[in-house]
Amino acid sequence: MASLDSGDGGGGHKKGPGVKKAKKQNTRVDMTPMVDLAFLLITFFIFTATMNTPTTLDLNMPKDTDNKDQKTKTKESGSLTVLLGKGDQVYYYEGQLEQETASEKFKQTTHKGIRDVIIKKKREVEANYVQDLECEQKKQADNKPISDCRQKDFFVIIKPNDEASYKNVVDILDEMTINRVERYALVKIADTENDMVKVTEAANGIK
């Protein structure tokens, strides 16, 4: 232990008469308590720190309208409809769902699998691209890659049903960002589609 020697303890006889020997003092300070405290604070700050500041996912919705001219039109060949159901399940079909071919077109996948579906469909649309000069010039003016014009007919329609979770919706919106889908919309599910989701869920035993 560090202690101060006051000098008048034992051994008084060593002092010579009239001569005092200067004692060499140790200049070292015991830093252990300070270090202890410092590390305590470090652990405290590590635990309380919120390193990840929240980010924002921008979402734009169209105005509800009954006016036919104002509605967004999509090409059937370029549209992909994604349905979200319970239990993190995803269902999808390309183009339009018709009575006769419905069971064939209607497919099921998961949140992991939907990425490949989106990419595949996007490639397909891009392969059918007919050069659109107007679009390319616009992109060039905005300093954006003109290759984006290739996907101008691609449209993803997202339809969550009542049992989908908020996380599923954000995940699928995020998937649009990840795969750079420029045109997508969040739409109310149709009853026929909802029924198909329910039937598939029952068949697959998803609770």
């Binding site: 410092a38 990840n52 908020y166 795969n179």
Partner: protein
């Protein structure tokens, strides 16, 4: 025989560099830390690859917790009394008879999620005690009694002429219909742009967005 005398080595190690680094890390954490604001209801937000920071303008925060309860809060950028004005507006429109103290409590309470008929009694409680009470959530699901419409409308009137962003902070486990009802309430006030609060996540390296971001960097770097 000569004896090999081993020099007595001191067992003390020089801790100075260690302490230096220790304090460096400590000062880093002190400066980098933003304290978690205490939330009355914990909400775990989903992740997204978006890297845009939340705007720090005037904001309306609509929160949805895991039990599908909806909460409303106003985050004014500079003028805190704007929150009182929102309470005032709601009070006049819905004839709730909120007094000045209630309005002030509204300003200081972190989140309000009570139907209008219980709002006055809830706001009579001091803000620090409010979090002990389980709130019912603002009714939204029935479009005829969607009370969020009035809250949003009030905020819009108070912040008229200023930039106001609408943030929606939903819990992972909340259900889609609640989110849809919130969107509907905003749509009915002619608001079509929303910011969904998410936590950042790394984009997969091979995905298009990662490639695209590099491409954009190149294009804009040239200019």
């Amino acid at each position: 025989m000569p004896r090999v005398s081993l020099p007595k080595k001191s067992t003390d190690t020089d801790m100075t560099p260690f302490v230096d680094i220790g304090f460096l890390i400590l000062s880093f954490f002190i400066m980098a830390t933003k304290f978690k604001t205490p939330e009355p209801v914990p909400i775990t937000t989903p992740n997204s690859v978006n890297a845009d920071k939340l705007p720090d303008d005037n904001a309306v925060l609509i929160s949805i917790d895991k039990d599908n309860k909806v909460y409303f809060s106003v985050i004014p950028k500079s003028d805190a009394t704007k929150a009182d004005a929102v309470a005032n507006d709601v009070s006049t429109v819905r004839e709730l008879n909120l007094d000045d103290k209630d309005k002030q409590n509204f300003r200081n309470s972190p989140m309000v999620g009570m139907p209008f008929n219980k709002l006055k009694s809830f706001l009579a409680i001091p803000p620090d005690k409010q979090k002990e009470i389980a709130q019912d959530g603002i009714p939204v699901l029935d479009s005829a009694t969607n009370e969020l419409v009035y809250w949003v409308g009030a905020a819009q009137r108070v912040f008229a002429g200023e930039k106001l962003v609408f943030m929606i902070k939903g819990d992972n486990d909340s259900h889609y219909p609640t989110f849809k009802a919130v969107i509907d309430a905003l749509k009915r006030n002619e608001i079509f742009k929303y910011n969904l609060v998410t936590m950042p996540e790394e984009a997969p390296g091979t995905s298009e967005i990662a490639v695209y971001r590099k491409e954009i960097e190149k294009l804009q770097g040239k200019k």
